[in-house]
């Protein structure tokens, strides 16, 4: 099962004088969901579009299932399914027409079942421009997977979706993965990446600055555990120096938040301190560092240091 479906080697793409992507390398295994994370302009979309054959690398190489997307894009058309960031559909095309249109070009039978499965059953004759953002995204996903490609490239698939739609789309992605489909997911949503991706690459200024499973990435960060405490009085204000394992402290929404190297030592000390001050504990939460915390540490070190 460890065969490489997507290979990116020293890929570089320069626009004018500035590199949008600067020598990145990664590989994606069959059946893997691979997250591409990064702030705006980090190079995610350029990487995806180059894999889709829409852009030519300045240097380096890309391949999907052994096919060079730049030189052999015709061979790739039935092997990849793509959900673009932009709509990619004419506004006057109905959902049903879009499905017939794309299936006809992929030479596969039309898939009305997919439209129904994705909640578009009652919108078959609705024009694309009249659909809500959520339904447009669902339709784009349906069209991307209708020809059952072994590789699916998704660019911000859940941007602007309500919670229900996101859950539904995540379920579809899991079903695709269960069938062995390889997925690259470019997203801004850290929670989505942490939940869905087997591995993620964090891009910053066109370079990969971190690559691994979400657990590996969060473990390689500062490792500070977030402890949020709410109590009846203000006795916790400026109390960080009382707890040796605490590196940072801040006040947010009635919660005193401590970032501790050792939650096991800090939490009992905090409780003892509250008791000694005759204060009453209202709420206590202990959270391990999330992918979002790690992402912020990498992409916005100043922000991260401020806590």
């Amino acid at each position: 099962m460890q065969d490489e479906v997507i290979l990116v080697k020293e890929f570089r793409k320069v626009y004018g004088d500035s590199p949008a992507v600067d020598g990145i390398s990664f590989e994606v295994q069959r059946g893997e969901i691979f997250g591409l994370l990064g702030p705006n302009g980090a190079g995610k979309t350029t990487t995806l579009e180059s894999l889709e054959g829409l852009r030519q690398p300045t240097s380096g190489s890309l391949s999907i299932l052994g096919i060079d997307p730049t030189r052999q894009s015709n061979r790739l058309q039935n092997l990849i399914g793509v959900q673009l960031q932009s709509s990619g559909l004419p506004g006057y095309m109905t959902s049903k027409e879009a499905m017939e249109f794309f299936c006809a070009y992929h030479k596969v039978t039309t898939r009305p079942d997919l439209l129904i499965r994705l909640g578009l059953g009652e919108k078959l004759n609705s024009q694309f421009s009249t659909l809500s953002t959520g339904l447009q995204r669902r339709l784009s996903l349906a069209l991307a997977v209708a020809h059952e490609p072994p590789v699916v490239l998704l660019d911000e698939p859940t941007a602007g979706l309500d919670v229900g739609s996101r859950v539904e789309l995540h379920q579809v992605m899991r079903e695709l993965q269960a069938k062995g489909t390889t997925i690259i997911l470019a997203t801004h949503d850290m929670a989505e990446a942490e939940k869905m991706a087997d591995r993620v690459a964090i891009l910053l200024n066109g370079k990969i600055v971190a690559l691994g499973t979400p657990t590996q990435l969060t473990a390689t960060g500062s490792g500070l555990v977030k402890i949020s405490v709410s109590s009846d009085t203000a006795c916790l204000v400026n109390s960080a120096e009382l707890f040796p394992e605490v590196e940072k402290q801040l006040l947010k929404d009635d919660y005193m938040i401590y970032y501790s190297r050792d939650a096991g030592a800090t939490v009992p000390a905090l409780l003892d301190y509250l008791k000694a001050q005759d204060d009453r504990l209202v709420d206590l939460r202990v959270e391990r560092p999330s992918l979002e915390d790690r992402f912020l540490e990498i992409t916005q070190p100043d922000h991260s240091n401020r806590g």
Partner: protein, 271 residues
């Protein structure tokens, strides 16, 4: 149904579904036809004999020059062509289908005009139906290909308006529709000779309506044919999938090659 048929059917239906296209393909030309039929046949006795080709040319220009190019630019801007590329839609289909669909709309409205101009407004009837149909087909392809070329080389909607009007307005005034080109002063006559309507009108008058023409109408057929082929080939050659990705962009000034047959006509056919 094949992919090409699906694509064509969608594009054709859009010409009826989209309000601005419906207006340019049918409502504006038909309204203008009725107005001209009511007014001009009474005011200008020379109008009625050539009313059918005149009104068909107005319909062709509205459809192909004013209606066809905009969706091309919008599709490029909205990333629709990129999506088409990823899903295997070939350039040939993207260029051919709007031209074909425009052609069918033009034929439909031409049938309405041809069938009603005589009974309603006393419009002249062709004496040679074979040539009438051949010139209709040729002119429709010429204008549809020109419209596609405008869409392909225009970077935005403003450029479309400019380029379309550069052909549309002079054609209406000087292209033999309102005033016979033979009545134009020599300088304007030369300008008229670089307009496709001049050749369509010349060909129809000489070959389909048996009227006298300023030059051999068969040259007009040749020029229309060359222009249709050149415009179509240029549209395919200059087509770009993506407004953001200019690395394969070809120089849009190459589109000026389309002027060659008309300039040759203006040089060699003006006595």
């Amino acid at each position: 149904m094949t992919a090409f048929t699906h694509h064509f059917m969608y594009d054709f239906r859009t010409g009826l579904r989209e309000k601005s296209l419906l207006m340019l393909n049918y409502l504006f030309p038909l309204g203008f036809y009725i107005l001209m039929g009511l007014l001009m046949t009474g005011l200008n006795p020379t109008f009625a004999p050539t009313m059918i080709p005149t009104m068909i040319l107005v319909a062709m220009m509205a459809n192909a020059l004013l209606g066809l190019p905009n969706p091309v630019v919008e599709s490029r801007e909205a990333g629709i062509f990129r999506s088409f590329k990823i899903n295997g839609v070939p350039v040939l289909s993207i260029v051919t289908i709007p031209v074909l669909s425009s052609f069918v709309h033009i034929i439909l409205i031409s049938i309405i005009i041809t069938a009603t101009a005589g009974p309603l407004f006393g419009g002249g009837i062709p004496t040679n139906w074979g040539w009438f149909v051949i010139i209709l087909i040729l002119s429709a392809f010429t204008f549809a290909s020109l419209g596609m070329l405008i869409g392909v080389v225009s970077p935005n909607s403003r450029a479309i308006v400019l380029l379309s009007q550069v052909i549309f307005l002079p054609s209406m005034l000087l292209g033999g529709l309102m005033i016979p080109t033979s009545m134009l002063p020599p300088a304007l006559y030369r300008v008229a000779m670089i307009l496709p309507t001049t050749y369509s009108m010349n060909a129809w008058k000489g070959l389909a309506f048996g009227m006298e023409t300023a030059f051999d109408a068969r040259w007009s057929v040749l020029i229309l044919f060359s222009s249709a082929v050149i415009a179509f080939a240029l549209a395919i050659y200059l087509f770009s999938w993506d407004s953001k990705n200019k690395q394969h962009g070809r120089n849009p000034l190459l589109a000026l090659v389309i002027l060659i047959p008309y300039i040759l006509g203006a040089i060699f056919l003006v006595g």
